[in-house]
C-alpha cells in the first residue's frame, strides 16, 4: 500500500513568536521545537511536504529594503523578489534544522527546499481591492509621496498606533508551478519544503509569459491547494491555538475536536472564525476536504505530537482518536 502523504503548513509561532525580536537564534530554536513534533508522522510512515508562512520575515525584508534605499540609495526589490528571498532564507533554515532533528532521531532522509511560484489570475477581484497590509507604517506625507512615486496604495492603520500602511492584493491561488516534481520528490521519501509564504505570486499574460504579480498569497490557501494538487491524504495547519473553537473567547466558548465538512462550513458562514486569521485557515481546510482530501487538522505547532490536542475536519464525522 502506498504511504500516506501529508502536507504540513508551519505558521504563526511555529517559526517566530510574536513576543520575540526575530533573531536567527530564536527562529532556529522555534523551528527545531516545531519539527520535533513532526517526527511521529515520519515514524508512522508518512511522506511529508512542508510549507511555511513568512509574515515576520518578509516584513523585515521589506523594512530593510526601505532602509537600504534611504541610507544607501540601494534599489528596492519588488514584492515577488522579497517573497522569493524569504523562501530561500526560511527554507534553508527549515531544511538544516530538520536534517539535524532527523539525525538526532537516527532517521536518514533528504530534506530539500524548492523555490516555488504560485499562479494567480491577474483579473482576480483582489487586484482592484488590495487588502493585505505589508511593510512599515508611514506618515500621511510619506504615504502620499510613495503613492505617487511607486504607485503603492495605502490604508490608514486605525486599530493600532495610526499612520499608513501599504496594502497589496491577496488573490486566490490557482496552480503551483512544478507541482509534479514536488509530488515525485515527496513520494520518493524526500521531505520537501515548498510554497513558502504562499508562493511567489505570478500570472500568465496574454503573450503566455510568466509575469510577477505585486501581491501576496495566503499561505494556508496556497498550502491546501498544493496538498490537493499532489494528492495528499492529510493536511495540517500548525498555528498558535491547540483547537478550533466556536464562540471563541466568549463565556460559552466550546472546543471542537471532531468536525465534519458541512458543520464547519456552517460555522464559517456564521462568522464564527476571525477574518484574516482563523477564517482563511478553516477555508483552506475545507477546500482540501472538498477537493478529495481525507483529513484536515488544525493545532498548535508544539502540540502536534501530543494526540490530546488538535481539531480534525473530515467529510463526515469521524472520531478516529487522533
Amino acid at each position: 500500500m502506498e504511504k500516506k502523504l501529508a502536507v504540513v503548513a508551519l505558521g504563526g509561532n511555529a517559526l517566530l513568536r510574536g513576543d520575540q525580536l526575530g533573531t536567527i537564534d530564536e527562529q532556529e530554536q522555534n523551528t527545531t521545537e516545531t519539527l520535533e513534533n513532526l517526527i511521529f508522522l515520519i515514524n508512522e510512515g508518512y511522506d511529508l511536504v512542508i510549507t511555511h508562512g513568512n509574515g515576520p520575515q518578509v516584513g523585515n525584508i521589506l523594512m530593510r529594503n526601505d532602509a537600504g534605499e534611504q541610507l544607501y540609495n540601494i534599489a528596492q526589490m519588488p514584492l515577488d523578489i522579497c517573497v522569493a528571498d524569504s523562501q530561500g532564507g526560511i527554507g534553508y533554515m527549515i531544511e538544516r534544522m530538520f536534517k539535524n532533528v532527523l539525525n538526532k532521531h537516527g532517521i536518514n532522509k533528504n530534506v530539500i527546499c524548492i523555490v516555488t511560484e504560485v499562479l494567480v489570475d491577474i483579473n482576480d477581484p483582489a487586484f482592484s481591492d488590495p487588502q493585505k497590509r505589508v511593510g512599515k507604517i508611514y506618515t500621511r506625507e510619506q504615504a502620499e509621496e510613495l503613492g505617487s512615486k511607486k504607485g503603492w496604495i495605502f490604508k490608514e492603520e486605525v486599530k493600532t498606533q495610526g499612520g499608513y500602511r501599504r496594502v497589496v492584493p491577496s488573490p486566490v491561488p490557482l496552480d503551483v508551478v512544478n507541482k509534479s516534481i514536488i509530488q515525485d520528490l515527496a513520494r520518493k521519501g524526500n521531505i520537501v519544503i515548498a510554497a513558502g509564504g504562499g508562493g511567489v505570486p505570478v500570472y500568465i499574460d496574454e503573450k503566455n509569459d510568466v509575469r510577477p504579480a505585486e501581491a501576496v498569497i495566503d499561505k494556508d490557501l496556497a498550502s491546501s491547494l498544493l496538498a490537493n494538487l499532489i494528492g495528499a491524504d492529510e493536511f495540517y495547519i500548525l498555528t498558535d491555538v491547540p483547537y478550533i473553537y466556536i464562540n471563541y473567547k466568549k463565556p460559552d466558548q466550546e472546543i471542537k475536536e471532531f468536525l465534519n465538512y458541512s458543520d464547519t462550513l456552517k460555522y464559517l458562514n456564521d462568522g464564527q472564525f476571525a477574518k484574516g486569521s482563523m477564517a482563511p485557515k478553516i477555508q483552506a481546510c475545507l477546500n482540501f476536504i472538498k477537493q478529495g482530501g481525507h483529513k484536515s487538522v488544525i493545532t498548535e505547532a508544539f502540540k502536534l505530537a501530543d494526540k490530546k490536542y488538535g481539531s480534525k475536519i473530515t467529510m463526515e464525522y469521524e472520531d478516529d482518536r487522533r
Copy 2:
C-alpha cells in the same frame, strides 16, 4: 545514448553589469539576454544545470541588513541566511525568465530552483585567514565597534576609496547537499538552478549536526564541484571576457582558444591569471577536467551561442570547433 549534461555558471555581467544600478528591470533584462544564449545547448540536446553568482545581490542584502538595524532596529541575519535569501530571489528570477525564453522558442521544459547547501570543513585554513571582502565600507571607528560587538574581522580598503570592509573566509567546497536529486532532476530533462552564490556554506560538527559557516564559497569552485559530483560532461563559465588570455592587457596579449590541462595549469602557476577574478575560474575549470570532465569553457555571457568566441580547456589539445 545518454544526453550530454552541462553545468553553466552564470556570473559577472550575466545577471548584473558593473555600470548598472541593480534595479530588478536591469537584472531581468540581462538574465533574459544571457539565457537566450543557452537555447542552442538545449537545441543540441543537452541536459542543463544552471548555477549563478550573487555578488552584487548579496552585497545589497548585507547593506540592507545594516540599514535596517540602524533605522529600525531589525535584527541582522547572519551570512548564511543572506546567501540563502539571495538564492531564493535570484533563482526565482532566473527560473521565471528562463521559462519565458523557452516559451518564446516553443520549448516545453520545467525550470526548477533548489536552495542548496554546500559542505565545507570548519578546519579549512581559510577560517583562520579570512580574505573575502563583503558588505559595506565602514570608517575605522565603526569597524572597531562592529568588531568588538559582532566579532567581525575587517581589512583596510587600500586599492579603492579607503575605509574598512568586513572579510570572511572563503573555504574550499567539499560536497553539495542533495546532489543526487539535482542530478536526477536534470537527467529527467528539467532545467535545474542550484548552488547559487557558491551555495550556503555549512559544516558538520562533532555531534554530526549541520551548522552554518559564516563564510562565502567561490561560485566557480562550487559549480565545478557540482558538475563533477553529478557527472556532467561539460562545464561553462559565463563571464565578462570572450576568451582566456595570456599576457592579458600587455603588448603581447594572446587569445587562447584551445587549451589543454597541463599548459593551462602551467599558465595558472606562472601567475598569468588575476587572483580573485580569472584564477579561481581557471582553477574551477581545471578541477572539472581533472575529476573526469570532458570540456571546460570560459566565455562572455552574451556570446556563448556565437561559436566564434570562447576558450575551451580539455585534457589533451582538442580542436573540435565546438
